[in-house]
């Protein structure tokens, strides 16, 4: 296939980020926005350096990552299991469809009083919100993935009398895997968003609480610095899931195109 010249993805990605940094530096410098509300990149970087020198920052970062990781893990495991089971048993799918649709749009943030009631500002509160929001992301993707199984592949497995487990393991799972990855990538950032939001609103320890404090204190550059940290976490997390994806989905059409000639 004749494709356009292919650049180094890492270089191109860095160029993209550099472009963003440049824009943020220029917007206030050129007076397009008031720099008291959007400080230039250099000032944000300075504030970030100041933050990075404090122990509180690292403690908060750790707290956020911890809540994120645990919450995401629970959500992914639960979402995948539920998705495979519900997706492969038509009756279950029909039975649960309405309930899923009912529960899914209830925002985690609306559950904050409930979470605080149960866990105060402990980790548990953040976890409830993170799990609740991330779970649906995974579940829905897995449901779509299960529905995408190629009937001929499925029949092949059935004709060779694959056990139910064998069909799940060897047909359902590989078909759903690309969807699971999208689900995990969606869930990973939703989990991060919710972890930070929960900290922000409830005040559980973590980056979100630091952001809230910075906002309340009118420390604009510091607030942006912390936002940047959140975004950077997202970039790193995506990098990790991408790597896993490339490894596990080498056979898939979407990846094949990248590797083959």
């Amino acid at each position: 296939m004749t494709t356009a010249h292919r650049g180094n993805p890492v270089l191109l990605g860095s160029a993209g980020l550099a472009g963003l940094l440049l824009i943020v530096e220029l917007l206030p410098r050129l007076g397009l926005v008031n720099e008291r509300y959007l400080p230039p990149t250099s000032r944000i970087a300075a504030a970030l350096a100041d933050e990075a020198a404090t122990a509180t920052f690292w403690q908060s970062l750790g707290d956020t990552l911890y809540a994120w990781a645990i919450g995401l893990l629970i959500a992914v495991v639960a979402g995948v299991l539920a998705g495979l089971v519900i997706g492969s048993v038509p009756v279950l799918r029909a039975l649960t469809a309405s309930t899923v649709e009912f529960l899914r749009p209830i925002p985690s943030v609306a559950l904050i009083p409930l979470a605080v009631l149960l866990y105060g500002t402990e980790l548990g509160s953040t976890l409830i919100l993170v799990c609740y929001a991330a779970f649906w992301q995974v579940l829905v993707q897995v449901l779509y993935g299960v529905a995408d199984v190629d009937p001929v592949a499925e029949e092949t497995a059935r004709s060779y009398r694959f056990s139910t487990w064998g069909r799940v393991r060897h047909v359902l799972w590989p078909t759903a895997l690309p969807y699971v990855f999208t689900g995990v990538r969606l869930a990973a950032s939703v989990a991060l968003v919710l972890a930070v939001t929960a900290e922000l609103v409830i005040g559980a320890p973590g980056l979100g609480k630091e952001i809230a404090t910075a906002q309340n204190s009118d420390a604009v550059a510091t607030m942006y610095a912390l936002i940047v940290v959140t975004g950077a976490l997202g970039v790193v997390i995506n990098l990790l899931t991408r790597t896993g994806e490339r490894r596990l989905l080498a056979w898939h059409q979407s990846i094949r195109g990248e590797v083959a000639v």
């Binding site: 008031n34 008291r36 509300y37 904050i112 009083p113 605080v116 009631l117 149960l118 866990y119 105060g120 500002t121 402990e122 548990g124 922000l200 609103v201 409830i202 005040g203 559980a204 609480k209 630091e210 809230a212 404090t213 910075a214 906002q215 309340n216 204190s217 009118d218 420390a219 510091t222 607030m223």
Partner: protein, 301 residues
């Protein structure tokens, strides 16, 4: 409640009570941090831990469910809770106005070039408050009323304090009801104060209080008593040592050094001024914030 963590009021070891207090990380709660560092709580066998929440939404349920043993909230919110029979009770004063016109820690401000000159001009304007149907609109209306304007025509919009300087600057709002440190920020950018709303309402207005749950009050009256004592000592100390207050701010807020030296500090009397709260209650009832008139005897100590 859970048995892990310090959240449990039963968590006393060797006669020391582990106490968690839900606070908003703003200037108002400086005394409790100062008192903690001075050891006012420790000497009364209280091991203190602060949890920061964004306002009553998180703190009140935390106190009711005993996740927090005490909480900090403004009195209007506490009175709303009281009218809904939320089982809580105020145990110590939180923060009060300085009582000085033009030199309070909260005010309504406008842009320097705004045609609004006095509180009277605020009638019919768009004013931001941090929470609708709460203390902000009550006291702002009162300022307008006192100045001879028509408070019924004000359009209040809700937005977080940190966003108000931007909104004011861009002209999204005509005026902002803000507290420190945003008040200083706006003034430094050329903003102009048009009403010292707390002072207009009552020069001795008590704005917020520390509270606990009815249940803790019944189960551990002694703990509550010790907390109140420690709190009062902290308030008194903070009132007397503004420099130390400005210092302690650096530990739990991110207000930069310059702003910390400049912000107007509130007053921290130990008495909850009942008359002023009564006024707040009446104003709120007039404005329709309370479904029924709050019963202050049930709420205040």
């Amino acid at each position: 409640g859970s048995d892990k963590g310090s959240g449990d009021s039963g968590g006393s070891s060797g006669g020391v009570d582990n106490v968690t207090v839900g606070v908003i990380p703003i200037i108002d709660v400086a005394p409790i941090y100062l008192g903690q560092s001075k050891g006012f709580f420790k000497t009364r066998n209280i091991e203190l831990k602060m949890e920061a929440g964004q306002g009553g939404a998180a703190i009140v349920p935390g106190v009711v469910s005993n996740q927090f043993q005490f909480g900090f909230s403004n009195l209007t919110s506490l009175m709303i809770a009281q009218t809904k029979n939320v089982p809580i009770k105020a145990v110590a004063a939180g923060v009060s106005t300085t009582g000085v016109q033009g030199k309070d820690f909260g005010a309504v401000v406008v842009k320097g070039a705004s045609p609004i000159k006095t509180a009277k001009d605020l009638a019919g304007k768009k004013i931001s408050v941090n929470t609708l149907k709460n203390i902000g609109d009550t006291v702002t209306r009162e300022s307008v009323r006192v100045a001879g304007g028509d408070p019924s025509k004000i359009e209040f919009v809700e937005m977080p304090f940190p966003n108000m300087p931007v909104a004011l600057d861009k002209g999204d709002i005509d005026a902002a009801w803000v507290v420190e440190p945003q008040l200083s920020t706006i003034k430094a950018a050329g903003g102009r104060e048009v009403a010292s709303t707390f002072v207009d309402t009552d020069p001795k207005l008590t704005i917020a209080a520390y509270f606990t749950s009815q249940k803790l009050l019944a189960d551990k009256p002694d703990l509550v008593k010790r907390f109140t004592e420690a709190m009062n000592e902290s308030l008194t100390y903070a009132d007397a040592h503004p420099d130390e207050v400005r210092q302690i701010l650096s530990t739990y807020t991110k207000i930069d050094d310059k702003a910390r030296a400049q912000v107007v500090l509130p007053k921290w009397p130990i008495e909850i001024n009942k008359a002023s709260v009564q006024k707040l209650a009446e104003l709120g009832t007039t404005d329709g914030i309370f479904a029924s008139a709050p019963d202050l005897d049930k709420l205040l100590p």
